[in-house]
Symmetry: C2
């Protein structure tokens, strides 16, 4: 049985670029190819581009999922040469130059861009994924939000002090930017937002524990900024423990350094591995599952196939792979889109990609953020304002900028959070 061609626009003489994944890399690549005499199809299993850097705010009841999710086809609607397909890629037939979707059809390509991102890496303990969700999808964020809020609800009608303490305890595994951000946000939620909301439990006594296997938090940042963040987290009420390795996770909590921490909520923020795109291609992946690419982002040995963002291991100037950051994915997407346009329109050679570091940032909480621009560093109140301005600006739609700004300003003023509904099918009795 032959599968049908599912491309929405019928084939014509134009070359066809297929992009898999509408994250930062895939979307930037599509935008760079917009309005040209090239057919482009972007495939994603979701109908929206998710602004993942703010997902921790959904997990901590500050924003709604829709505030940080923009329909891919809305973003690209003005480019008539781009088709958007919501489907799951289930395989790639490199010989026939086809992407197989949902096992029911295919999309043929002349150039293929893999921008399929990464997922959390449980380092062989796959059973932990059920107990300690990461923070990559809207479903993850809703699940974490429901777990935190249900913990307080259950503690309110619990008469056993020990069980009550466990219900209001959150453990975050991994103290990179995501771990730090979510730990700070949970502490603020408990200390401020939930204040006076309960009679039988005091949310200010809720325990937030941040665990890090390495000797200090935020290993990718300079020591002085990490020390500042550490101090601010402790001041916000977070217990920070470094040099501790998680030995086990079960429904009651976490085992660490031979000790059990009883916790209702466990969040996994301890490292990622690439999507299974390397397996689709049958190519060799690196230690983290990433596809090895050349300096021009092409996959060695496979003509017309490229990989960008978290799913690619791109050699840096010094030979090491570039970090898994939104700005790397975005720059690569735009670089490759422009390169492919020049190649397909004029036969130009693909230029090598060079990453320009725009600065690393992490936010600890109210009035506290850090920036590392390499030569310069910034921290505190001004860094926090800058962080907020940049993140609002980076949201795709104008309306969302206004809506998110209003919610942030209101939260800053009142400590209230607008999205405290418990709604997740992963938690019992939540919807």
């Amino acid at each position: 049985m032959s599968l049908p061609d599912l491309t929405p626009t019928p084939a014509d003489a134009r070359p066809h670029v297929v992009i898999v994944g509408a994250g930062f890399g895939g979307l930037a690549c599509a935008q760079a190819l917009g309005g040209r005499a090239i057919r482009v199809t972007i495939v994603d299993r979701r109908n929206y581009h998710l602004f993942v850097p703010l997902l921790y705010q959904v997990a901590t009841a500050a924003l709604s999922p829709a505030d940080i999710a923009e329909p891919v086809r809305k973003v690209l609607r003005r480019h008539d040469n781009i088709d958007v397909v919501m489907a799951e890629v289930t395989g790639i037939d490199v010989a026939a130059r086809r992407v197989v979707v949902d096992d029911v059809g295919y999309i043929p390509y002349d150039r293929l861009v893999l921008a399929t991102g990464s997922r959390y890496n449980y380092f062989g303990h796959d059973a932990w994924a059920e107990l300690a969700p990461g923070l990559k999808t809207v479903a993850d964020a809703r699940r974490i939000r429901a777990s935190i809020l249900l913990g307080f609800e259950q503690a309110e009608i619990c008469k056993d002090p020990e069980a009550q303490a466990a219900l209001t305890t959150s453990v975050i595994v991994g103290a990179g930017p995501t771990g730090v951000e979510i730990a700070g946000a949970i502490a603020e939620l408990a200390r401020w937002t939930l204040r006076r909301n309960f009679r039988n439990v005091d949310p200010a006594t809720a325990s937030v524990v941040l665990l890090e296997a390495g000797p200090r938090i935020l290993p990718a940042f300079p020591e002085s900024l990490a020390a500042y963040a550490h101090e601010r987290l402790v001041k916000a009420g977070v217990t920070v423990r470094t040099n501790v390795v998680v030995e086990g996770i079960d429904p009651d909590g976490v085992f660490v350094a031979g000790e059990r921490i009883r916790a209702r909520t466990i969040v996994w923020a301890a490292g990622t591995s690439a999507s299974p795109a390397a397996a689709w291609l049958g190519t060799e992946a690196d230690r983290l599952g990433r596809i090895r690419v050349e300096r021009d982002l092409s996959v060695s040995g496979l003509e017309g196939v490229f990989a960008i963002g978290d799913t690619a291991a791109t050699p840096d100037r010094d030979g090491a792979a570039l970090p898994a950051l939104a700005q790397v994915a975005k720059q690569q997407g735009r670089h490759l889109g422009l390169g492919l346009a020049a190649q397909l329109e004029r036969g130009a050679a693909l230029p090598a990609f060079h990453f320009r570091n725009r600065g690393n940032t992490a936010v600890i909480g109210r009035n506290a953020a850090i920036f590392d621009f390499g030569s310069r560093q910034l921290r505190g109140w001004l860094a926090w304002i800058l962080w907020a301005l940049i993140h609002v600006y980076l949201l795709v739609a104008f309306e969302k900028r206004v809506v998110v700004s209003v919610q942030w300003f209101w939260r800053w003023l009142t400590h209230q959070r607008g999205a405290r509904l418990i709604s997740s099918d992963d938690e019992s009795r939540a919807e």
Copy 2:
């Protein structure tokens, strides 16, 4: 085995009023009892009060669930005499004056207020509930939103014109205010918001069919207003069919008047029945499952038990039961709260409830709404502005008023809708 008392605040000499349900009726009753020398416990299986009149806007991608959901304990946090318990009532022991929750504990009461609302009535066809969700919960709204949006996504990669038409067809059963509102909103979503978003399907050709068993739409409104609404719906692209009874529903669509309408999305808005509260009490219910109450809202024969809102059959001046409207529930909640306070504080007799009709409204779409104030009627542009102002004002939190206003203004200006993400566990591949 005896169950534990789950009330968060320990018992003392104060009388204890337990309210089941934090909808319009239950919340108004609790607020009227706030700050008094009376213990109050309000129990709901959700942690939020849902502003159901705007739920159709969540189902049609205009608002996020959190925009119309406010945590019950946040609303009531300033009243130290009120406990909020998130739990599901599983029975009532009238003899022992106890509410049993989650089968694991109980809450004792001196006065019990049942405000448990209603659900959709499939008139004996319970299997239809799976195929044609009503619009009562956040999960319902997400499911309908996912179904509509996924229909268009699937149509975009579908090469069979007949199947494509079915994927973009929505059928709404029942032309009361909810049916009219959702039909109008789906038509606007397809005609305007999704414009230019697709290549292989034209959303403007999407079919929206509104079915009504009676001779005209909006039977509770005066004929002239209903005729205006009918005309506006047709102009917006809705096919209105009156005098048709749904004979069957299956995964492919609806059977009506001996004919099959193939439809991806079916919404049930054809009448409600009360919550199972009457069964908990073991009392006789009316035809729609409602608890019969006296004019003072007490349940006959059960001392200290009251019922309000959709779950109660309250005799009107002329003996008929009052309609299931938010304003009835709200007025009853406040009336009963004040009455119970006077009774418990001073031994006053409970006064009879009299409904004051504040006017009925329905919105058809952009610039089109109707108001029926009994003696006066209003329709068109001005009614629409009034509708928007009233509904923004009725939202509980100030922040939500601003956020909803911004989103409405933006939609009015651009036809864009901010919450177009497909996210529902009830739909395959949605999250």
